[in-house]
């Protein structure tokens, strides 16, 4: 054993431990990381430049300034749009987490006539692109008087086929014994779903919440169409209005975008903890 210890990997200098495959993989991952991070870095760096410097593509601004942030935050519109986006993203996320899992649970755990057809019908809506739905949505909103309202922005996403599908798949992994034990203990079906089934699928709920929040936080196309008054713009729609004809205020757009990443970072940091914990729970026997 003593002579073998000289060959143990940790005894060698770091470069001698590298294997050709590992070098290749790390190089590719590094390049991929650079490609993904560069726009973010550019965004932050541009947000620290004055209007005259924006086409100077240095990563470290020559004369960094927080002036853009002061301007964006002092301008009342930005905070208004930020709040609008927050309202829309939070409401739609809560709605999806609730209704998608309610429908997913029903489809996964109750045997009733036609449930397969209902599932197929829900899934088939995934095949229709948003661009095709926008005009019917718009006409519908106009008829109901939903144009230029929060509800108008939110209603198409309040429940999604993807979320229902995701939750159904996860609820199918919940053992029936858990549900039947609660039933024998006298819980009603709603409480079984809420107190027993939902806590067992927290990883899926976290994933669904992240996807839904990010999707709605960055949504642009439909909010642009359905809103006309400036005080109902969501953040992406509002930011695009910085690009007025002839002059695009890149430094303002980048500053707004930099601020807009903060909630998404928070959501991810908070929820990823539950994803990890959820995976640990799922690994339990019994």
């Amino acid at each position: 054993m003593a002579d073998m210890s000289a060959n143990r990997p940790e005894m060698l200098p770091w470069f001698a431990r590298l294997q050709p495959g590992a070098v290749l993989v790390w190089t590719l991952l590094f390049l991929g990381g650079v490609v993904m991070v560069t726009p973010l870095v550019l965004m932050f760096s541009t947000s620290l430049k004055s209007a005259g410097q924006i086409y100077d593509l240095r990563f470290i601004p020559a004369e960094p300034t927080l002036n853009n942030y002061v301007r964006v935050l002092a301008d009342g519109w930005f905070l208004r749009w930020f709040m609008n986006s927050m309202i829309v993203a939070v409401c739609v996320t809560v709605s999806n987490v609730f209704f998608d899992s309610l429908v997913g649970y029903t489809l996964a755990k109750f045997k009733f006539r036609g449930r397969y057809i209902i599932f197929i019908a829900i899934l088939s809506t995934l095949m229709i692109p948003t661009e095709m739905l926008v005009i019917p949505w718009y006409l519908m909103s106009a008829q109901f008087g939903w144009l230029d309202t929060y509800w108008g922005i939110m209603f198409p996403g309040m429940m999604t086929a993807f979320g229902t599908f995701l939750m159904k798949q996860f609820f199918e992994t919940v053992p029936d014994d858990f549900i039947e034990a609660a039933r024998v203990d006298g819980m009603n079906e709603f409480m079984i779903w809420w107190k027993v089934a939902m806590p067992l699928v927290t990883p899926a709920l976290s994933a669904l919440a992240i996807f839904t929040f990010l999707g709605n936080w960055t949504a642009f196309f439909w909010p642009l169409i359905v809103t006309t008054s400036r005080d109902l713009y969501t953040l992406p729609v509002g930011l695009s209005s910085f690009a007025v004809e002839q002059s695009i205020q890149w430094e303002m757009i980048m500053t707004g975008a930099a601020l807009a990443t903060i909630p998404t970072l928070i959501v991810f940091l908070v929820l990823q903890r539950f994803i990890v914990r959820g995976v640990m729970l799922a690994g339990l026997k019994g």
């Binding site: 053992p175 039947e180 339990l284 019994g286």
Partner: protein, 352 residues
Amino acid sequence: MAEITLRSLTKDYGTVRAVHGIDLDISNGEFVVLVGPSGCGKSTTLRMLAGLEDISGGELRIAGRLVNDAEPKARNIAMVFQNYAIYPHLTVAQNIAFGLYTSGMSRAQKDARVAEVAGMLGLTDYLARRPAALSGGQRQRVAIGRAMVRDPVAFLFDEPLSNLDAQLRAQMRIEIKRLHQRLGTTIVYVTHDQVEAMTMADRIVVMRDGHILQVGAPVDLYENPVDLFTARFIGNPSMNVLDARVQAGRIIVGDQDMGACSRADGAICLGIRPQDLLVDGPGTAARINATVTAVEPLGPETLVHLDAQGHEVMATAPGRVIPAIGSTLTASADAGRLYLFDPDSQRALGRA
């Protein structure tokens, strides 16, 4: 506390009949074990008692009340599942208290009740733990605790010990039995393990293919099985069964005379329990000359696998003498220890 009455209880899945109109009376405080091979309908019957399966026909009464269409919670029964079904996201205390969720008790009452149950099951030190930090036996105790906490009229156990290792299973058998003696609550217990059935039951219900074959006390089933299936199923190791014939008042296997019999001449199935067939025994019946093919020393005795003119037979060698493999010996049983069965109907024909 309640008696449970099954009258022509039937379960159909589409066109397949899983339970064929069974009748059973379970008296108050009785420990009844439903036993049989997988697919015999025992679990389905238990789930009908619990209200987890719809009843296709017949009557089910708990404490005299017809509960065919009652929700599980309206039956005031508790169930313990094979894989425990305790919730991984709740602590032991929360899991036990789960059964009280709809009880309308105050927080203090619930806590007192949980503490009482945990004390009875030796879980007091684990109340704050999550199931992941418990052993299999402790998890099963939590599941039993959740069932006990509500003070139900009957407990239903669905193969509760089959996920445990052999030693723990033996220990939990005794714990459940003691618990029954202390609580005196009616228990219906499903298992495929005849040892569990024999050791725990007041009465055993042997089931096969959705029918009840025999109901009786463990010793009763062991001594007087009504048919070949029950005879083989109850008792470990399982009964030797030999094709035999009756000829002029003697039972003959091959060319060996196994003993006297008052039946008319004809084919017959002869059953001998390995415990009754003793190597070098003093018995006068079923004297078999055979070759030893394998031995299973158990300590106080040895199970001996014998080849008797092509028939495989298991016998017992008492004491600590282990017969050599390949050696020839004589085994015999006492008169009256031979079980006779009809080879066609497989019904018991008494003893010889």
